[in-house]
C-alpha cells in the first residue's frame, strides 16, 4: 500500500504477479524458507478445509490430519526462525483490493517478533493438537473440534505474519471466531452458549476500537503498512494528539482481546470451552495477541507518552485486580483464567513502561508455562471429572506425571528463581521501575505476591492433603496427553535462559536488532529488584503453605471475620452485574424505546398513509351518489376554478 502508481484492472486481477519486496529489505540472501513463509498458516487452513469436508468420514483419524498439518507448520516455523537469525527481515506484498487510487495490499513479513510468534503459536498449537487426541477421545464431534482448531491456528498464524494493520485486523477477527466456535463447542450447554456470545461481543467492542484507530491512522499516514506508519510517525507527519488517539483506540482492541480491565469478563467465562482450547487460545496464543499487537505497533505507542502511560496503568491495574479475584476462585480453570488476565496485565505493564523486550519475553515464557498449567489442569479434570478444587485433594500420588508438571508450571508462574517466569518477571519489574511509575512497580510487586499465593493455594488444594470427596477411577492420562505436557514442562524451565541478566540477553539483543525504536535490549534494574521479587514470591508460597498445607493459619485469616471482602472477590467485584445493570439494561431499554417509536410513530405513519388512501377511496365512492345535480355542481366548480386561474394568471381571457 501507499503504492500510488495507478494500475489497470487486469493487473489487479492477476494479484500474485505483483509480489514485491518491501522497500528497505531488498537485500536478499538465500531466504528460501522465509520466502515461502506464507505456507505456514496455509497448512492448518488445509487441515480445516479437509476436516470440514471429510471429517465425518475420517472420524478419529481426523486427529492425525490436524496433527500432521500443524507439525508441518511447526517444522517450517522453526526453520524460518533459524533462517531469520542470520538473514534480515523479509516481506512481500501483492495487491488485494483497489479503491480508486488506493491500493490495499496483502502479504507477509518475517521479522524477529513474527518469527518468534510463529514458533510459539505453532508449537503450542501442535502440542494441543496432540494432547486433544487423548482429551477429546470419544466426543461425537471430534472431527469438528479438530476442524475448529485448524481454523484457529490458521488465523493465529496469519495474524502474527501480517505486514499491515488491515490484514492484522482481518486475522484478528478470525481468531475471534475460532475462539468463539471453540468456546461454544459444547453448544448444547446454556453456559457455553452464553460464554461464546459474551466472548465474541466483548472482544468485538475492543475490535471496534482497533477498527476506528486503524482507519484514522490510515487517513493520517495513507497506509496500513506497519513500516509506512512508523515512517510517517517518525517524520512527524501525524500530530501528537492524533498519535495518542489512534494509539489508545488500537490499544482498546488489545484490551478486548487480551482481557484487560474493563473488558476482561469474557475470559474467565471462556473456560466453558474444552480445556485444550483454554490452553491454546485463552492462555498461550490469542489472548496474547493483544500484547503482540501493542508490541508490533510499539514505535507508534512510543511516540505518545500518554498512550504508554495508559497502557501501563491499565496493565498494572488489571494485573492486581485479576490476581485478587484469583485468590478466592474455586474452579481450577477459573483460577488459571484470572491468572492469565493478571499475567497479560503484566505484559501490558511492561510494554507501557517502554519495556518492549520484557513484554515479549514474558509473552513467550507465559505461553509455555500457562499452556502447561492448563494442559495439566485438563489432565486433572480428565482424571476426576470435576473442576471444583474444593472437591479435589491428594492427587499427587495418583497422577505421577501431572503433579510434578503442574508444580513446574506453578513454580515458573510464581517467579521462583531459575524457572523461566522468574527471568521474565524480573525483566518486567525492572522495566516498570525504570520506565514506569513507582506506584505501578509496587502494584506489580503486590500482584507477584498474590500470584505466588493463589497458584500455590491451587497446587496445595489439588495435589496435597486428603481427597475431600470420594474419587474412583483416578488414573494418569494417556501418553499423548502427557508427552506434550512434558515438553512444555521442559520449556517452562529453560525458556527463560534465552534472556537472563547472568548469561546474556540473547533474545533481547536479537529482538531489537536493527530497530532502535524498540528501546534497549535489556533494562538493567537495581539488583534489589530481583531480590525483592524473589522474596515476594517465596512469601506468597510460604503463606499458601501455611494456610492450605499446614493449615496453621485459618483460611479466613486475612479477611477476618467479616466476609465482605471475600464475597466481593468471589463475585469478581460485581463487574458482570454492573454491566448487566448498565450497558445491557441501557441497550435493552433503548431497543424497547425504539420499538415504541417503531410501533407507534412509524407504524402510525403507515396507518396515516393507509388511512389517506382509504379515505380517498371512500370519498370517491361517496361522490358517486348518482345525483346529477351534485355531479354538475362539482364539474362546474372545477370549471370555475380553471376560469378564475386563467383570469388571474392571464390566458385567453386577457
Amino acid at each position: 500500500m501507499g503504492l500510488s502508481t495507478k494500475t489497470g484492472r487486469c493487473q489487479a486481477l492477476l494479484g500474485f504477479d505483483k509480489i514485491r519486496v518491501v522497500p528497505g529489505t531488498a537485500r536478499r540472501g538465500i531466504v528460501i524458507m522465509m520466502e515461502n513463509a506464507w505456507l505456514i498458516p496455509l497448512f492448518p487452513l488445509l487441515s480445516f478445509l479437509i476436516l470440514l469436508l471429510f471429517g465425518k468420514r475420517l472420524k478419529e483419524a481426523s486427529a492425525y490430519v490436524g496433527i500432521l498439518f500443524t507439525l508441518a507448520s511447526l517444522v517450517y516455523s522453526i526453520l524460518v526462525l533459524f533462517e531469520r537469525f542470520s538473514e534480515p527481515t523479509y516481506g512481500t506484498n501483492f495487491e488485494w483490493l483497489t479503491i480508486g487510487d488506493i491500493h490495499l495490499t496483502a502479504g507477509f513479513e518475517v521479522n524477529q517478533l513474527n518469527a518468534l510468534m510463529l514458533v510459539i503459536v505453532s508449537l503450542v498449537s501442535f502440542l494441543v493438537h496432540t494432547y486433544s487426541k487423548g482429551y477429546m477421545n470419544g466426543d461425537e464431534r471430534f472431527p469438528v473440534f479438530y476442524a475448529y482448531l485448524g481454523l484457529f491456528t490458521f488465523a493465529m498464524l496469519g495474524l502474527v505474519i501480517s505486514p499491515n494493520l488491515l490484514q492484522t485486523y482481518i486475522f484478528w477477527e478470525l481468531v475471534g471466531v475460532g475462539s468463539f466456535l471453540l468456546i461454544g463447542f459444547y453448544f448444547y450447554k446454556e453456559e457455553a452458549k452464553a460464554a461464546a456470545k459474551k466472548a465474541f461481543i466483548m472482544t468485538r467492542i475492543g475490535d471496534v476500537g482497533l477498527f476506528i484507530g486503524m482507519i484514522l491512522l490510515f487517513w493520517q499516514t495513507k497506509s496500513f503498512e506497519y513500516s509506512e506508519i512508523f515512517k510517517a510517525v517518525d517524520a512527524g507527519a501525524v500530530s501528537g494528539t492524533m498519535i495518542t488517539l489512534t494509539a489508545i483506540l488500537i490499544f482498546i482492541g488489545a484490551v478486548g482481546k487480551s482481557g484487560q480491565f474493563p473488558l476482561h469478563t469474557w475470559l474467565p467465562d471462556a473456560m466453558e470451552g474444552p480445556t485444550p482450547v483454554s490452553a491454546l487460545i485463552h492462555a498461550a496464543t490469542m489472548v496474547a495477541a493483544g500484547v503482540y499487537l501493542v508490541a508490533a505497533l510499539f514505535p507508534l505507542f512510543q511516540a505518545s507518552k500518554t498512550a504508554l502511560l495508559t497502557i501501563a496503568v491499565i496493565g498494572a491495574f488489571t494485573a492486581i485486580f485479576a490476581a485478587s479475584i484469583g485468590l478466592v476462585q474455586t474452579d481450577i480453570k477459573r483460577v488459571l483464567a484470572y491468572s492469565t488476565v493478571s499475567q497479560l496485565g503484566y505484559m501490558m505493564l511492561a510494554l507501557g513502561s517502554a519495556g518492549y523486550v520484557a513484554g515479549v519475553f514474558h509473552l513467550m515464557t507465559h505461553a509455555f508455562f500457562k499452556a502447561l498449567l492448563f494442559l495439566a489442569a485438563g489432565s486433572v479434570i480428565h482424571a476426576v471429572h470435576t473442576q471444583n478444587i474444593e472437591e479435589m485433594g491428594g492427587l499427587w500420588k495418583k497422577l505421577k506425571f501431572t503433579g510434578p508438571l503442574f508444580l513446574i508450571g506453578t513454580l515458573s508462574i510464581s517467579g521462583v528463581p531459575l524457572f523461566s517466569g522468574f527471568f521474565s518477571k524480573d525483566e518486567i519489574l525492572a522495566a516498570a521501575w525504570e520506565g514506569g511509575h513507582p506506584i505501578l512497580f509496587f502494584l506489580a510487586l503486590i500482584a507477584a505476591f498474590m500470584t505466588a499465593f493463589y497458584m500455590f493455594r491451587l497446587f496445595f488444594m489439588v495435589f496435597t492433603g486428603k481427597p475431600r470427596t470420594e474419587m474412583k477411577n483416578v488414573h494418569e492420562s494417556p501418553a499423548n496427553m502427557t508427552y506434550p505436557m512434558m515438553l512444555l514442562g521442559v520449556l517452562a524451565i529453560v525458556a527463560g535462559y534465552v534472556n537472563t541478566p547472568w548469561f546474556g540477553s540473547f533474545l533481547g539483543d536479537w529482538l531489537v536488532d536493527g530497530n532502535p525504536r524498540l528501546g534497549h535490549a535489556h533494562v538493567e534494574g537495581p539488583i534489589w529488584i530481583m531480590i525483592a521479587a524473589t522474596v515476594v514470591s517465596l512469601l506468597g508460597i510460604f503463606m499458601a503453605y501455611l494456610m492450605y498445607y499446614k493449615r496453621s493459619l485459618a483460611r479466613n485469616w486475612l479477611s477476618g471475620t467479616g466476609d465482605t471482602l471475600h464475597t466481593i472477590l468471589t463475585n469478581k467485584y460485581y463487574v458482570d452485574e454492573f454491566y448487566q445493570l448498565t450497558v445491557i439494561a441501557f441497550t435493552k431499554g433503548l431497543s424497547y424505546f425504539l420499538r415504541f417509536i417503531d410501533v407507534f410513530l412509524v407504524e402510525g405513519l403507515v396507518k396515516g398513509v393507509v388511512g389517506i388512501v382509504q379515505g380517498l377511496g371512500r370519498t370517491g365512492s361517496r361522490m358517486q351518489s348518482g345525483q346529477v345535480q351534485t355531479y354538475g355542481a362539482v364539474a362546474f366548480i372545477g370549471l370555475a376554478l380553471l376560469a378564475v386561474i386563467y383570469a388571474l394568471t392571464g390566458g385567453y381571457l386577457r
Binding site: R9, C10, A12, L13, G15, E95, W96, L97, T98, I99, G100, D101, I102, L166, Y169, I170, F171, E173, L174, V177, G184, F187, Y188, K189, E190, A192, K193, A196, K197, F200, I201, R204, I205, D207, V208, F211, I212, I215, L216, F218, W219, T587, K588, L590, S591, Y592, L594, R595, D598, L601, V602, E603, L605, V606, V609, V610, V613
Partner: protein, 502 residues
C-alpha cells in the same frame, strides 16, 4: 462481433419461460417447476458470459443498444421534439448487479420449487416476469425504460406476496404496493420534469447535461429533484422512517420471494441512488452528504437496536436489512472512492447474504413450521449442517473478515471516516450491535438446550445444497479476493468521481 442483441435476449429470456408455462396444464407440477427453473438459466449464462467478456479485457460498451422507440413530433416540424429510445447498456456496476440478479433468481427458483406448495404455474409465470423486470431495471440506459421495468417489478411482487405468502400476506402485499407505488409516483414526477426540461431521458446524456452550466435548471430545482429521488428510492431501500412496509414483506412473503426481494429488489433503491442521485446530481448530493450520512447512521443503529429484541428470526433479518442498508447510505455519503465502492460492495454482499439467510429460514420453516427463535432453540443438535450454514451466514452478515460483509463495511467506514469522522464513530456502535443481535438470534436458535425434539427433522439435503453452497462460496470469494468485484467497478467509480470532482 455484433453483441447488441445480447442484452435484449438477456433481459427478455425469462419471458420465453412464461410463454411455455402458459401452454402447460396446471397439474403438471414437475414439468412446471423444471421449466420455471430452466427459464432462469439463459439469463444466468449470458450474465456470466458478460462477466467473462469483461474479464477478458473487452469493453462492456459492446453490449449497448439504442433504437428509436417513441417520438413526439411538434406541430409542423419534421424533427421529433421529444424522443425516447430503447436503450440498454452495461457498465461494470450494472453488470455486477445483473450477475447478482441472475444468480439469486436461479437460486430463488430452486427455493421456490422446494417451498412453494400450490399453483406453481402462476407462481413461476409471475416470478419470471419479475426477473425480466429486475434485469431490465439494471440494464436500462434511459429513465423512461427504467421506470417501465421498475413498475414491472412491482406488480408480480405484489401478487407473489399476496397469494403465496403467510398468514397476513394480503396486508403485506398492499402495504408493499402503496409504499412503492407512492415512491414510483415521485420517481415519475422527477423523470417527467427532467424530460420536459432537457428533452432527453438518456442517463449518460443527462449526466453530461447537468454538469453543463448552460442547461436551464436552477440548482434549487436540482436539489428538489434529488430530494424527490431520495424519497423515491428511500422507500425502496428503505430509509427510516419509510421502512415499515419492508418488515411486513419480509415476514409474510414466501422465502423464495424474500430471497429476491431482500437480495435484489431492495438493491434497486441503492442502484437508483448511486446511478441517478449521485450520478446526475453530484453537486447537490454533496450538499446533502451530511444529511445522508446521518440518515445512514440512524438506519444502521435503529435497525440494529430493534433487531436486538425481536422474537421472530424473520423480523431480526428484516431489521438487519434496514441496518445494513444504512451502511450503503454511509458509504454514499462519504462521496469518495472508498465510500462509494463500499456502498456498492454492500449492495452485492447483502444481496448474497440475505438470500442465503432467507433460504435457510425457508428450510427451517418448512421442517418445523416456525421461525420463532425460542421455538427453534438448540436445533444444531438435529440439523447440524443447516445450523452451521446459518451460523456462517450470520457471521458473514455481521462483517466477519474473509467474507463479503466485512469488505463492504470496512470500505464504507473507511470512506466516511475521511469525511465525517464523528458521524462514522457513532456508526461504529452499529458494528457491535450487529454482532450482538445476530449472535443473540442465531445462537438462540442453534445453540443451547433443545426445547423440542428435533428427531425426524431432516437436515439439508439434495438440491437444497445448491443455493446454500453457491451463495456461501460467492460470499467467501468476495471476502477473500474482493478484486473480483472491485475491478469492474473502477470505470464506474471514475465516472462518478469525475462528476463529484467537477
Amino acid at each position: 462481433m455484433n453483441l447488441h442483441w445480447i442484452l435484449s435476449i438477456l433481459v427478455f429470456s425469462p419471458l420465453l419461460g412464461i410463454v411455455v408455462l402458459a401452454l402447460l396444464p396446471k397439474t403438471q407440477e414437475k414439468v412446471i417447476k423444471a421449466v420455471g427453473l430452466l427459464a432462469t438459466v439463459p439469463a444466468l449464462l449470458l450474465a456470466l458470459a458478460a462477466y467473462l467478456h469483461f474479464q477478458w479485457g473487452k469493453d462492456l460498451a459492446d453490449f449497448a443498444v439504442s433504437v428509436p422507440w417513441i417520438q413526439f413530433r411538434g406541430m409542423g416540424t419534421q424533427e421529433p421534439v421529444f424522443s425516447v429510445y430503447y436503450e440498454l447498456g452495461m457498465s461494470g456496476f450494472q453488470m455486477l448487479l445483473v450477475v447478482l440478479t441472475a444468480v439469486v433468481a436461479t437460486l430463488s427458483a430452486i427455493a421456490a420449487a422446494k417451498f412453494v406448495k400450490k399453483e406453481w404455474k402462476g407462481y413461476f409465470m409471475l416470478f419470471l416476469l419479475l426477473e425480466t423486470g429486475m434485469l431490465g431495471v439494471f440494464t436500462a440506459e434511459n429513465l423512461i425504460l427504467f421506470f417501465i421495468f421498475f413498475e414491472i417489478t412491482l406488480i408480480p411482487t405484489f401478487f407473489l406476496i399476496g397469494k403465496w405468502g403467510y398468514f397476513e400476506r394480503e396486508k403485506a402485499a398492499y402495504s408493499f404496493l402503496i409504499y412503492n407505488g407512492l415512491g414510483s409516483a415521485v420517481l415519475l414526477i422527477v423523470i417527467m420534469i427532467l424530460f420536459g426540461k432537457t428533452g432527453t431521458t438518456n442517463i449518460d446524456l443527462l449526466t453530461q447535461m447537468m454538469a453543463d452550466p448552460n442547461v436551464p435548471l436552477s440548482s434549487d430545482l436540482k436539489l428538489g429533484l434529488l430530494i424527490a429521488l431520495l424519497i423515491a428510492f428511500g422507500v425502496k431501500l428503505p430509509i427510516f422512517p419509510l421502512h415499515s412496509w419492508m418488515l411486513k414483506v419480509h415476514v409474510q412473503a414466501p422465502p423464495s420471494v424474500v430471497m429476491i426481494h431482500s437480495g435484489i429488489l431492495l438493491k434497486i433503491g441503492a442502484y437508483g441512488l448511486i446511478r441517478f442521485g449521485m450520478g446526475i446530481f453530484p453537486e447537490q448530493f454533496k450538499t446533502l452528504a451530511t444529511l445522508i450520512a446521518v440518515l445512514g447512521v440512524i438506519n444502521l443503529l435503529y435497525g440494529a437496536f430493534l433487531a436486538f429484541i425481536q422474537t421472530d428470526f424473520k423480523m431480526v433479518l428484516a431489521y438487519s436489512s434496514i441496518s445494513h442498508m444504512g451502511i450503503v447510505l454511509i458509504g454514499l455519503a462519504a462521496m469518495n472512492e472508498a465510500g462509494v465502492q463500499g456502498a456498492i460492495f454492500q449492495v452485492v454482499s447483502h444481496g448474497l447474504i440475505s438470500a442465503l439467510l432467507f433460504f435457510l429460514v425457508g428450510v427451517l420453516y418448512e421442517r418445523t413450521d416456525t421461525s420463532l427463535i425460542e421455538n427453534l432453540g438448540g436445533m444444531a443438535k438435529g440439523m447440524p449442517i443447516a445450523a452451521g450454514f446459518l451460523l456462517a451466514g450470520a457471521l458473514a452478515s455481521l462483517g466477519l473478515p474473509g467474507m463479503s460483509g466485512f469488505v463492504s463495511e470496512f470500505m464504507a467506514f473507511l470512506g466516511l471516516f475521511k469525511e465525517l469522522p464523528w458521524v462514522a464513530a457513532v456508526g461504529t456502535i452499529g458494528i457491535i450491535m450487529t454482532a450482538a443481535y445476530l449472535l443473540r438470534a442465531v445462537l438462540g436458535m442453534t445453540y443451547g438446550k433443545a426445547h423440542r425434539e428435533f428427531t425426524g427433522v431432516l437436515d439439508l439435503k439434495g438440491v437444497e445444497f445448491v443455493p446454500v453452497v453457491v451463495l456461501m462460496l460467492l460470499i467467501v470469494l468476495i471476502g477473500v479476493y474482493p478484486s473480483v468485484l472491485s475491478a469492474p467497478l473502477q470505470t464506474t467509480l471514475e465516472t462518478i468521481m469525475l462528476g463529484i470532482g467537477g
